[in-house]
Symmetry: C2
DNA sequence: TACCTTTGTTCATTCAAATGGACACAGCTC
DNA sequence: GAGCTGTGTCCATTTGAATGAACAAAGGTA
């Protein structure tokens, strides 16, 4: 099956935003594209598409680049955890192990 | 050239964290892995590795899934902009168009 | 000004991400 | 308990991301 993808506006915005923040971070640190690419172990071409906000690059690479220029993402909590107001692992273990759906209507007989 | 990659601890942590948040978000919305995968237009296998925090998946897909379960990433600013305390595009245009390095020492002759 | 570094972009090749089918098993539901 | 549903994982195949070289153009520097 063909593999054409579509992305929501929110996603595209987030990608563009992240790309710009990386670009700014790189400039603030006085790094050329080549230098940052080398440090991240990727090619300048890939870094370019990351800064452009392309959806294709691997998330690991993007996060690596982001951290290299000093961006804080989900750094083991802080912001994200405050937002979700509880510890993640705790929440995870309390969760049912699988999502089960009602077989029919639960009780809709009047 | 071979393409083996290494990721910093921060990156791996961020990936794991994001994966867990997605998993929690999915559970809270009562979605099965298959359902969420369908909505995102990806396979259940890929969703699985995303929730595991694998570095390989495309960032566009991960962000799409994240937004589908209600996670806020860089939603055109809010947190991130507060953190960086200024508007991004403004900062971008003020930046020098290219990073130039000093040819030698600027003035180191004593 | 001329020079040279940085960047944006294209392109063919390489290689791993994404797929989908399969299977075992955990864990709800009755 | 039996039965079914959701999940984790494997694997062969497909397809697109990552690469690196190349070139033009923009933009600092002398």
């Amino acid at each position: 099956m063909p593999r054409k993808r579509s992305y929501s506006r929110v996603t595209r915005q987030a990608l563009t935003m992240l790309g710009k923040l990386i670009r700014i971070g790189r400039a603030e640190r006085g790094l050329t594209a080549q230098e940052l690419a080398d440090r991240a172990g990727i090619s300048r071409t890939t870094l370019s598409s990351i800064e452009k906000g392309a959806p294709g690059p691997e998330i690991g690479i993007v996060f690596e680049v982001a951290s290299l220029v000093g961006l804080r993402l989900f750094e083991s909590d802080e912001r994200m955890l405050q937002v979700h107001s509880s510890r993640v692992d705790e929440k995870l273990t309390l969760l049912p192990k699988s999502v089960r759906h009602a077989v029919k209507e639960v009780d809709d007989d009047f």
